[in-house]
């Protein structure tokens, strides 16, 4: 698989470490009311879809950035690559 890095261009997927579903960006607030109830599904449950999947890849042997890759799990075709930072900001995770 070739991941088309937004900054570095096409890179071999072997340079990356795979973490999992990009929903992991939405870590619950540990201080909030009912945090435990939210952390259990956050940590352990996954949609695990057959088809389009947004997932986190870390460019360990590159620029050490986190990417959100949209990939089809039935064909391995990659349809979008974004910087995880931009995705997180867009989704209201950080400033």
């Amino acid at each position: 698989m070739i991941i088309n890095h937004p900054l570095l261009g096409p890179r071999d997927a072997q340079e990356f470490i795979y973490l999992g579903d990009a929903a992991l960006i939405h870590r619950p607030d540990g201080m909030a009311e009912g945090a435990l109830e939210r952390f259990i599904p956050y940590t352990y449950l996954r949609d695990n879809p057959a088809g389009s999947h947004r997932e986190l890849w870390y460019h360990e042997q590159g620029d050490r950035s986190w990417l959100v890759v949209t990939r089809n799990t039935t064909t391995h075709e990659i349809t979008a690559v974004e910087m995880a930072r931009d995705v997180a900001r867009k989704e209201g995770r950080s400033k």
Binding site: M1, D12, A13, Q14, Y18, L19, G20, D21, I40, P41, T43, Y44, L45, R46, D47, N48, P49, A50, H53, E55, R71, T73, T74, T75, H76
Partner: protein
């Protein structure tokens, strides 16, 4: 029809005209007492033991393709009971005992071959860990033996003992471990279940579940609605997809694992060798092919095929363990979809939906579990209580902090 040596001779003398299909091809009935979704090893074994040991009932196995087309026909056929943790070892040892009596029990040649399995170690710390694991196995009634370097050398003199990074210092041996002809397991259970009245319905894709007031009433399939009092799901890599029909999210990711077979060679490896440090394991089939594999590819996949980096990684592992493998040509390679759970251990449990039961999360190691998995799932379906060897395989173990994490990797399925 019972199979026997006499039957083979009689058929040979009469032109083999008397063999019959090993199971029927029935149309689905309107309703059953039990529906098992998934005609892999686990689903078929469940139906077999349900019919044989637990209940006289109307039972059907629904398989979307053909039986044995999933992981049960794709694995590298290794069976063993060399686990460390309390939640696991009694279950896998129960499975090993069932393997030992299986062929007589279901009257089918599954080529159960207790040829011995060794796990190599390379450091003092790994030797300590192997000793501890061996002791845990022995305490649960399994067999284990610690081999030193010279004992390993006498078994497999061609291994690369002086590898600079991973010199071989010895191995943990389980002599009762070995290999079993994988698809014969599916066929043997299918035939045994069919003989006891189970309907095995192929080309029957479960596309939905009918659930009313918290109770399952049956399943929607490509061959129409089929009613059931109880539904047991055992679909391995498709677990998340099928349980989504019941509105459930699972502690699981689906990943692809590849396997490889070389051209046929003269007898060379008479047992099973695992080389965890090098991400490589190998045995030799009775036809002579070296059967080997390594790690999962490591990203979510339903593709039943992997990518080249893992092929390279496995080949490197093989070269570092037994350099002569570089002279062998690769004949075939393929992939299967693993139901990788969050702690690397399976789930065999009731769900919150009345009448709906689940069996999955087998990761890359569910073939060895097939007999016990079928037995304990049948037990759960029939009696509504878990079998004594499977009490830890619950859905709520994650919420309660009771994970069964053999590798200690945490909730990261691609590392188990």
């Amino acid at each position: 029809m019972r199979y026997s040596g006499f039957k083979v001779i009689a058929e040979a003398l009469t032109g083999h005209k008397g063999w019959k299909p090993a199971w029927r091809d029935p149309a689905p009935q309107a309703a059953y007492d039990y529906i098992i979704v998934g005609g892999g090893g686990h689903g078929l074994a469940t139906a077999y033991y349900l019919a044989k040991e637990f209940q006289q009932a109307r039972i059907a196995v629904l398989e979307k393709g053909w039986i044995g087309g999933g992981n049960v026909g794709r694995n590298t056929t290794i069976v063993r009971s060399n686990y460390l943790l309390d939640g696991n070892e009694p279950f896998y040892e129960f499975s090993m005992k069932l393997w030992e009596g299986l062929e007589q029990d279901f009257n089918y040649n599954a080529m159960v071959s207790q040829r011995g399995i060794i796990n190599l170690f390379h450091t003092d710390a790994q030797r300590d860990a192997a000793t501890r694991r061996g002791n845990a196995m022995i305490m649960h009634g399994a067999d284990a033996e610690l081999l030193n370097k010279e004992q390993v050398r006498s078994l497999y003199p061609f291994l690369n003992f002086e590898n600079a990074r991973f010199p071989i210092k010895g191995a943990l041996m389980q002599r009762r471990g070995g290999t079993v002809r994988h698809d014969a397991v599916a066929w043997g259970y299918a035939r045994g279940a069919d003989n006891r009245g189970v309907d095995i319905i192929q080309n029957c894709d479960v596309t939905g579940m009918r659930i009313e007031n918290g109770r399952v009433l049956g399943v929607e399939t490509s061959r129409g609605f089929i009613g059931a009092k109880k539904v047991g799901v055992a679909v391995a890599g498709s677990s998340s997809r099928v349980m989504a029909h019941a509105g459930m999210r699972l502690p699981m990711e689906s990943h692809v694992l590849q396997a490889f077979v070389s051209e046929g060679l003269k007898p060379l490896i008479d047992g099973v060798i695992t080389y965890g440090a090098g991400h490589f394991y190998v045995s030799q089939s009775d036809k002579g092919g070296l059967v080997f594999g390594g790690d999962i590819d490591g990203y979510n996949s339903y593709a039943q095929r992997g990518n080249l980096p893992v092929v390279e990684d496995v080949a490197e592992g093989g070269m570092s363990l037994m350099p002569m493998i570089g002279r062998a040509r690769l004949l075939r390679m393929w992939g299967g979809i693993m139901d990788m759970s969050m702690d690397g251990s399976p789930i065999i449990d009731k769900t919150d939906i009345e009448g709906l039961y689940f069996n999955g999360g087998w990761c890359y190691g569910g073939f060895k579990a097939t007999p016990a998995s079928g037995w304990v799932f049948a037990h759960l379906l029939a009696k509504d209580t878990p079998h004594s060897t499977a009490t830890a395989y619950r859905f709520d173990r994650f919420a309660k902090g009771l994970m069964i994490d053999e590798k200690g990797q945490g909730a990261q399925p691609n590392l188990h």
